[in-house]
C-alpha cells in the first residue's frame, strides 16, 4: 500500500516537474524543476530496489551537474523574447530528437516485454541476485564481465576531461599568482634589515 502510494506520488511529481522544465518562463526555474525531476527519479529507483543507482543519480546529477547548470544559468543575462524567436526554426530538429527518444524508449520496453532482457520486477524482488547487496552486484558485473567496456568508458572520459582543460586553459602573464612555496621558504633575515641609524641621520632605502 505504502509502496503504491509512494510510486504514484513520485511519478506524479516527476511528470509534473518534467513538463514544468519546458514550460517555465524563467530558465532558473527550469533548472530547479529539473532538479526536482531528478530527485523523484531517484525515489522511483529506490522503489525498484536499485538504491545504489538512485544515490549516484542524486550525487552526480543533483549534487554536481545541476549545480553547475544553475551556476551558468544564474549568471546569464537572458532576453526572453530573443529566446522564443528561434522556436519555429528549431522546432523540426526538436521534434526529430523527441521522436528518436520515443522510438528508443519503445524499443527498450519491447525488448523487455519480449523477454530478451532480464530486469527486476516492479516490487524490487529480483533487481539484484539474492544474498548480494546492490553495490556488490553492480561491482561484480562491472569489474568482471564488463571490465574492458568499463575501462574504455573511463579512458574516454579521461581524454574528454584533458581535452576540455587543454582547450580552455591559457597561460596568463598579466596576473600575479601567489607562490606559496616561495613565501614559506622565505626567512626573516633575507626579508628584513635591522638598522640602527644615528640620531638625526634617518634611513636610506
Amino acid at each position: 500500500m505504502i509502496q503504491a502510494f509512494a510510486f504514484y506520488l513520485f511519478t506524479a511529481i516527476m511528470l509534473f516537474s518534467a513538463v514544468s522544465v519546458i514550460f517555465a518562463r524563467n530558465p532558473v526555474h527550469s533548472v530547479l524543476w529539473l532538479i526536482l525531476a531528478f530527485f523523484n527519479a531517484a525515489g522511483l529507483m529506490v522503489l525498484v530496489g536499485a538504491e545504489f543507482i538512485a544515490m549516484l543519480l542524486v550525487i552526480v546529477y543533483v549534487g554536481a551537474v545541476a549545480v553547475l547548470f544553475l551556476f551558468v544559468v544564474m549568471m546569464l543575462d537572458i532576453d526572453f523574447s530573443e529566446m522564443r524567436a528561434g522556436f519555429i526554426k528549431n522546432a523540426p530538429l526538436g521534434l526529430l530528437i523527441a521522436v528518436v527518444l520515443l522510438v528508443e524508449l519503445g524499443m527498450g520496453l519491447g525488448v523487455w516485454h519480449a523477454g530478451a532482457l532480464q530486469l527486476g520486477v516492479a516490487n524490487g524482488a529480483s533487481a539484484t541476485p539474492e544474498s548480494l547487496s546492490n553495490t556488490a552486484a553492480i561491482g561484480a558485473l562491472l569489474y568482471t564481465r564488463y571490465l574492458f567496456l568499463f575501462e574504455a568508458a573511463g579512458i574516454i572520459l579521461l581524454v574528454a576531461m584533458i581535452g576540455a582543460i587543454v582547450l580552455t586553459h591559457r597561460q596568463r602573464s598579466d596576473t600575479r599568482g601567489q607562490n606559496v612555496g616561495r613565501q614559506v621558504a622565505r626567512r626573516p633575515d633575507e626579508a628584513t634589515v635591522n638598522v640602527k641609524p644615528a640620531v638625526g641621520q634617518g634611513v636610506t632605502l
Binding site: 532558473v28 532538479i35 542524486v58 550525487i59 544553475l70 544564474m74 606559496v180
Partner: protein, 347 residues
C-alpha cells in the same frame, strides 16, 4: 520499535508508520535541542578564547540565551524584499533546514539504534550533504540583490570543489570497512589497531581523517572557510535579505550541519558508538553516551578553529581543495587499496 507498537494491538502497517514517525521525532527533537545548546556552547567557547564572558544573563550561566534569541526572532516581522522572487525566497531556508535534518536518518546511535539501516548509508549522507548548497544558491538568486548573489556563486563553487575530495576520503573508509552501511563501518573499527576502536589509529587512515576534518569545515562553510557569509566583503552573504524565522532556519540548519559533520567524524574515524578502547568495563557505558562525548569533542575543535584561525581568501580555498586535497586523497585511495590488496584483506 515496530514490535512495541504491534504488541499494543496495531496492524503491521500502522505499527510501521507510527514507529517511523516516533523514531523521526526521537531523532529530530533532541537534535534541535542540541543545536540550541551548541550555539550557546559555541558562543561561550569563542568568548573565553577572546577573554570575554560570553552570554551570561538569561538563565544560569546564560544557558537559556539561545531560547531567548529564538523567541525574539520568532516575534520579529518577516520582511520580503519587493524585488525578490517570493516563492523561492521562502523555500530556500526551508530546504537548508530540512536537508540538515535529513542526513541524521542513517547515523547509528547504538548497535541497532538507527532510523534507516540502509546498505548505501554513506552514499545517502554524501547525496544529502550535496543538496545543502541549494538552500544557499536559491537564497542568493531569489533575493535579487548583489551580495547574496556573490555568496551563492562562492557557495556553489566551494561545495563542488570539496565534495570531490570528500568522496575520495570516504572511499578510503569504505575500502577498509568493506561496506557502505554506517553500522557496519562502526563495527569494522572494533579492535582496529591493538585494542583501539577506530580507524584513526591506523597510520594510513590518520592523514585521511585530518583531510576529512578540514574538508568538513569547508563543506559546512564554517570558519575559516565561511566565505559565503564573509561580513567584511558580503555584508552577511546569502542571509543578507532574510529576517525573522527564515533567518533563524538558516542558523539552525547551519549548526545542525556542523553537528552532523561532527557525528560523521566520530562514526567514520573514531569508532562511533564504540568505546575508544576495547576494554570490557567500558562497554557498561551506553553507546549513545560515547557517541555524544565524541560529537562534543569534535564540536569543541570546530569552535576552537573558528576562534583562532583567520578566514581564507577565495583563491587559497580553491588551491587547498583542488591542488592539495584532491591529489592527496587520490594518492591515499591508491595507497590504501594497494595495501589492502597486498595484505590479502579482500580474500
Amino acid at each position: 520499535m515496530i514490535p512495541f507498537f504491534e504488541a499494543r494491538g496495531l496492524s503491521f502497517e500502522t505499527a510501521w508508520t507510527v514507529s517511523t514517525i516516533a523514531e523521526i521525532l526521537l531523532i529530530a527533537l533532541p537534535v534541535m535541542l542540541a543545536v540550541a545548546l551548541v550555539i550557546y556552547a559555541d558562543r561561550k567557547i569563542w568568548a573565553s578564547m577572546a577573554l570575554r564572558r560570553g552570554p551570561n544573563v538569561v538563565g544560569p550561566f546564560g544557558i537559556l540565551q539561545s531560547f531567548a534569541d529564538g523567541l525574539k526572532v520568532f516575534l520579529q516581522e518577516t520582511i520580503i524584499p519587493s524585488a525578490a522572487n517570493k516563492g523561492l525566497f521562502l523555500i530556500a531556508p526551508i530546504i537548508t533546514f530540512t536537508v540538515a535534518l535529513m542526513a541524521w536518518a542513517v547515523i547509528p546511535f547504538n548497535s541497532g539504534a538507527v532510523l534507516a539501516d540502509i546498505n548505501v548509508g554513506l552514499l545517502y549522507v554524501l547525496a544529502i550533504s550535496s543538496l545543502g548548497v541549494y538552500g544557499v544558491v536559491i537564497a542568493g538568486w531569489s533575493s535579487n540583490s548583489k551580495y547574496p548573489f556573490f555568496s551563492a556563486m562562492r557557495a556553489s563553487a566551494q561545495m563542488i570543489s570539496y565534495e570531490v575530495s570528500i568522496g575520495f576520503i570516504l572511499i578510503c573508509v569504505v575500502l577498509w570497512a568493506g561496506s557502505f552501511n554506517l553500522n557496519d563501518i562502526v563495527k569494522a573499527q572494533k579492535d582496529h589497531v591493538w585494542i583501539i576502536n577506530g580507524f584513526v589509529a591506523n597510520p594510513l587512515l590518520f592523514p585521511v581523517w585530518v583531510m576529512f576534518l578540514i574538508s568538513g569545515m569547508a563543506e559546512t562553510a564554517r570558519a575559516p572557510f565561511d566565505l559565503t557569509e564573509a561580513e567584511s566583503e558580503l555584508v552577511a552573504g546569502y542571509q543578507t535579505e532574510y529576517s525573522s524565522m527564515a533567518f533563524a532556519l538558516y542558523w539552525l540548519g547551519e549548526y545542525a550541519n556542523v553537528l552532523l559533520m561532527c557525528a560523521l567524524n566520530a562514526t567514520l574515524f573514531w569508532g562511533g558508538w564504540l568505546p575508544p578502547l576495547d576494554i570490557p568495563v567500558l562497554y557498561y557505558v551506553p553507546g549513545l553516551v560515547w557517541l555524544i562525548i565524541k560529537i562534543c569533542g569534535f564540536f569543541f575543535i570546530f569552535s576552537w578553529v573558528k576562534a583562532t584561525v583567520p578566514r581564507y581568501r577565495y583563491d587559497q580555498l580553491m588551491r587547498l581543495g583542488w591542488k592539495i586535497f584532491l591529489p592527496l586523497s587520490l594518492f591515499f585511495v591508491f595507497a590504501i587499496s594497494g595495501y589492502l590488496m597486498a595484505t590479502g584483506h579482500f580474500a
